[in-house]
């Protein structure tokens, strides 16, 4: 401090920062939303932990285990539908980079359709289990299995609603600071669902199938 003080000319010293600094609203919001998504990740941590402790042989109470009803290639089709949906949203965001509104909306529509495919396959799978008499109440193991997979499916459901809302907002409001910020947070949300699905698919479906 003292060395600075000796070189400052008191007549010309600027005591106040008079320049206007624009606040980066988009980055502030996306970081905040990313922190929210990490806490959402902790929700999945608790559900994975519950599945981990409720997937022993005795957890199924003599009833069906995932080894008996998981169909790996069926769930692999779900995986590809979700990954393609994420890819389509990514291509849409690449169109946003070039201010290409129709490209963005096409990408989001493709992401929506593929997300619906994922959800329909999941609902079909669950109704098939129900028709076999396998429900949430069958055993502790089945409760953990169904809650974990269906909490992920619920995220997909709300993500699909969000995609529709954002298509409408882009069409009516265009590329404003608000809509672009929301498109970025939706990108994080949607892409994180693919990351979580990798864990669900490998450690719940495939591991359940082989154990």
């Amino acid at each position: 401090m003292s060395s600075h003080a000796s070189t400052v000319d008191p007549k010309k010293a600027e005591l106040w920062d008079t320049h206007h600094h624009s606040h980066d609203v988009i980055s502030t919001r996306t970081l905040g939303y990313f922190l929210y998504l990490l806490s959402d990740g902790m929700l999945f941590a608790t559900l994975f932990a519950a599945y981990g402790v409720l997937s022993y042989q005795h957890s199924y109470f003599g009833g069906p285990t995932p080894a008996e009803f998981v169909k790996p290639w069926y769930t692999f089709a779900q995986t590809i539908a979700l990954f393609l949906s994420v890819l389509a949203y990514g291509f849409g965001m690449n169109a946003l980079k070039h201010k290409n509104k129709s490209g963005l909306i096409n990408g989001m529509l493709a992401a929506f359709v593929l997300g619906v495919v994922f959800l329909v396959l999941d609902i079909h799978d669950m109704s098939h289990l129900y028709s076999m008499g396998i429900t949430l109440a069958s055993s502790g193991g089945m409760s953990a299995f169904m809650v974990l997979t269906q909490v992920h499916a619920t995220h997909i459901f709300f993500g699909l609603i969000w995609i529709l809302v954002m298509i409408a907002q882009v069409m009516t409001k265009g590329f404003t600071e608000e809509t672009v910020g929301r498109l970025l947070t939706l990108r994080m949300f949607w892409h994180l669902q693919a990351v979580i699905w990798v864990f669900v698919y490998i450690f719940v479906y495939l591991w359940g199938y082989i154990s």
Partner: protein, 146 residues
């Protein structure tokens, strides 16, 4: 982190999108899931080795997605996302790992597994889950317990 607010599409988080990156994230993770599914269905690897292999598939796929899709890197713009994620990973692993460890020890010390597996056969809830009795292994040990 400051930039002109005039055109939101020029924001760095928009501009860092690349089709190539998104495609790589998709291709790598889809290929690894294909490998894992193929290995699991072919039954060519013993269970413990299989678990190791599919865990590695999951790990690489997640890293590829986090890098290519979530843009987690050490660039000036994304460093705080990266720091938050790095802080998050231990919490995630500790939550799952400690819970699993505690319950596995509990089961080990409080339950006689041979009694558990033979005492809980489906006689009680066979009526609640019709069709289960037809499945392989469902009628084993019906002479004990209940």
């Amino acid at each position: 982190m400051s930039h002109s607010a005039a055109d939101p599409t020029m924001h760095p988080e928009v501009q860092l999108s690349t089709s190539k990156g998104y495609f790589l994230g998709f291709a790598i993770s889809a290929f690894l899931m294909l490998v894992a599914t193929f290995l699991v269905t072919s039954h060519s690897v013993p269970p413990f080795g299989l678990l190791m292999v599919i865990s590695v598939c999951a790990g690489i796929a997640v890293i590829a997605q986090i890098y290519f899709l979530l843009h987690i890197d050490i660039s000036e713009h994304n460093i705080w996302n990266t720091v938050a994620l790095v802080m998050f990973i231990p919490l995630f692993l500790i939550t799952i790992g400690l819970t699993w460890w505690m319950f596995s020890q509990l089961y080990l010390r409080t339950m006689d597994m041979s009694v558990m597996s033979s005492a809980m056969q489906p006689a009680v809830h066979a009526s609640a889950t019709p069709g289960m009795a037809d499945m392989p292994g469902m009628n084993a040990h019906t002479d004990s317990g209940n």
